[in-house]
């Protein structure tokens, strides 16, 4: 009894530092943000703010904003799904290629393909913004000089500016999925494929019944993480569109929150919107993990 008690004390002591850090950097800010979301804190009430209930949440759903909050929400979903789709498809495809046995210069290709991930997002965004320039950008130079197509005003149109941000983020995001998928592929025992070969399986059967199920437990958490990161990726969309250009049409929810909080000091409103974003992502993660049964053992 005494020994167990001492053991528990020891475990508590070991856990305590991380628990304190967790409370300081996660629980406290989250709790404080929730309190702010129930308050009227803003530029004019920064010192004398008070709890006003769920008014800010009601405002989020009912006030007509410029741009419209529901349009922004739709764009955020579109942004997340499109990015994730290409991150996974490109990432897994490249991982499958790099996992082949006899590829010349595999290490060099792997290094080159990881590069987008290693470059700071600010540099990437500003470089791509220059590349999308109508007159001097390399994208239009390729379109006109190589493909004989007319130049596109990438950063001026609502849809083309949004597409520019998506292209940049796809380029930035696929290496993460590639690395995760490559790690998972390398851990699949070779004898499984050999056994499938003996059973007469073709490449599709091997991919469908061996690769996919064994990739799944690794890829699902990566996709969940990727969804959360992409949904909340302020940097790329903000920098490529220069803060929502053109005409505030390239906002996603998180850039709209940023603007409300730090450009207009609407802290209460921004806090309420960020709690809503948190709930959306929480519900998505829980239901996605449950539906895909990632926690279950595949063997």
């Amino acid at each position: 009894m005494n020994k167990t008690f001492l053991k528990n004390i020891w475990i508590t002591i070991l856990i305590l530092p991380s628990l304190v850090i967790l409370i300081a950097v996660v629980v406290y800010p989250f709790g404080y943000n929730f309190i702010l979301s129930l308050s009227n804190i803003s530029l004019t009430h920064i010192r004398d703010w008070k709890i006003i209930g769920f008014d800010q949440y009601i405002k989020v759903f009912t006030t007509v904003t410029q741009p419209n909050i529901y349009v922004i929400f739709f764009k955020t979903i579109l942004w997340t799904i499109t990015n994730l789709f290409f991150h996974v498809v490109i990432g897994v495809s490249l991982a499958l290629v790099l996992n082949q046995k006899d590829i010349f210069g595999k290490a060099i290709f792997r290094t080159i393909l990881i590069l987008p991930w290693a470059v700071p997002q600010l540099i990437v965004a500003l470089t791509w913004r220059g590349m999308f320039n109508y007159e001097y950008g390399v994208i239009n130079a390729m379109l006109t000089q190589v493909m004989g197509l007319p130049p596109v005003e990438w950063l001026k149109g609502e849809s083309t500016a949004f597409l520019s941000a998506i292209i940049t983020n796809v380029w930035l995001g696929f290496p993460f999925m590639m690395i995760i998928a490559l790690g998972a592929l390398q851990s699949i025992p070779r004898d499984m494929y050999e056994a499938a070969d003996i059973d007469g399986a073709n490449w599709y059967h091997r991919f469908r019944y061996i690769t996919v199920p064994l990739l799944k437990p690794v890829m699902i958490p990566a996709i969940t993480l990727g969804t959360i990161w992409t949904f909340n990726n302020l940097n790329i969309v903000w920098l490529i569109s220069n803060g929502g250009e053109p005409q505030d049409s390239t906002h996603i929810l998180v850039s709209f929150v940023y603007k409300a909080a730090f450009n207009f000091y609407r802290y209460g409103y921004a806090a309420a919107l960020s709690v809503i974003i948190f709930l959306i992502l929480l519900l998505f993660s829980l239901s996605f993990m449950k539906k895909t049964r990632t926690a279950e053992n595949v063997y």
Binding site: G157, E245, P246, K259, F264, Y265
Partner: protein
């Protein structure tokens, strides 16, 4: 026993190494790299004569500094001194986080400065600037253009001659003029040239009027009819075109001029042209950059801060900055200094300042910028007519001001 000795020796060593406590003063600023180097050297000079004081400068990006300082100072924290453009002052004093400087400095000290360097809000002085301006002017490459245009008609006439397709491939190789025309800050000078201003005396937006419509039309015509500016140009593109000598003129602020000199371009600075239709000068917004003091500061530190600011704002230090980064000083006595009077860039920069209009420092200005931006861009994109755009700007700015001040 050994452990006891170890603890004892550690204690003795710790005592022996203990340095005398220095009072630390922190300055948050958003200065450019070259300005930061000057500030650091001046801080070091100050610390040499004040060994018990440690002054630290911390760079923050403009928006980060503004919001960071608000959050920190409301919580009783933050840097003792904050440095930036004076449009911060309205917000800072609205949330009561900066000290009125007329309680800290006497009238004699304050009277040394150009009145444009002193930012008052609700009858109190909240900022003393060390640099005047932060203003736009017409910068031209003397190799490509000998005499800058004085009027908008001249601008178009000269501009057509300077816009060139050297190799006849249908692509323009040299433009007459560039600037960052995604930002309304750069557009204001046309609005003022056509007789408009952003707000009335009660801080209500004044954007839906004939001046706005004409200014928007004029700007669009420069691109689509006169074709003397590129189809698309943000800050980076405009800057690169001018540095690569692919543009004869650029409208840019005093912060950028020294970089053109460093890039080897023989530049001239001229006041922005007069609009023929109105006879008015295109007037940029003027926003001095200077120091404010955190209201939470202790009395002990306040004495040091006073001394430090007196040092940083003195003639010698301002002249040093002027020589190195081509900024307009705020000490009145320096305006008769030969360096200033014999320097063509300085003289013309001063002329532009005299023709400019002070940027409103009230918080409402942020909402107006934000409301202007999308509708102004919509005109350039062809998505809206100037008339519609002016109307929408006005409506949006009222909504945004209401939301911000609720």
């Amino acid at each position: 026993m050994k452990l006891k000795y170890l603890i004892l020796s550690f204690f003795i060593l710790s005592c022996g190494n203990k340095k005398e406590e220095r009072t630390k003063i922190t300055i948050w600023h958003q200065m450019r790299v070259d300005e930061r180097v000057i500030l650091q050297s001046q801080i070091e000079k100050f610390m040499l004569t004040h060994p018990k004081i440690k002054v630290e400068q911390v760079y923050k990006e403009t928006e980060e500094m503004r919001s960071g300082f608000i959050i920190a100072a409301v919580a009783g924290q933050g840097a003792e001194i904050v440095y930036g453009p004076n449009d911060n002052i309205g917000v800072f004093s609205s949330v009561d986080i900066i000290l009125p400087l007329d309680t800290l400095f006497d009238k004699k000290f304050i009277s040394q400065f150009n009145p444009k360097a002193l930012t008052y809000y609700k009858n109190h002085l909240f900022q003393i600037a060390d640099k005047l301006g932060n203003h736009l002017a017409l910068v031209y490459n003397k190799k490509l253009l000998k005499t800058p245009p004085k009027t908008t008609d001249e601008l178009i006439e000269i501009g057509k001659k300077l816009t060139k397709d050297f190799n006849n491939d249908g692509k323009i190789d040299q433009y007459a003029l560039v600037w960052n025309y995604t930002e309304p800050f750069f557009f204001i000078l046309f609005y003022t040239g056509f007789g408009g201003w952003v707000m009335d005396d009660e801080f209500n937006p004044t954007l839906n009027n004939y001046s706005m419509v004409r200014a928007l039309e004029f700007m669009r015509n420069l691109r689509d009819s006169a074709k003397i500016i590129p189809r698309e140009s943000d800050y980076q593109i405009a800057d690169a075109l001018f540095k690569d000598e692919k543009s004869a003129m650029i409208i840019n602020g005093d912060w950028s001029w020294s970089s053109y000199v460093k890039a080897g371009i023989d530049i001239g600075v001229a006041p922005l042209p007069i609009v023929n239709e109105t006879g008015l000068n295109c007037a940029p917004m003027i926003s001095p950059k200077g120091y404010s003091v955190n209201k939470n500061i202790s009395n002990e530190k306040l004495i040091i801060v006073k001394e430090l600011l007196e040092f940083l704002l003195n003639e010698e230090n301002q002249l040093e900055a002027t020589k190195l980064v081509s900024t307009i000083p705020t000490q009145k006595s320096l305006y008769s200094n030969p360096y200033f009077t014999n320097n063509e860039i300085m003289v013309n920069s001063q002329k532009q300042i005299d023709l400019g209009r002070s940027m409103p420092i009230v918080p409402e200005m942020r909402a107006i910028w934000d409301a202007m931006r999308p509708h102004y861009q919509a005109v350039l994109n062809g998505a809206k007519s100037p008339k519609q755009s002016a109307n929408d700007m006005q409506i949006d700015s009222k909504i945004k001001i209401k939301e911000m001040l609720e």
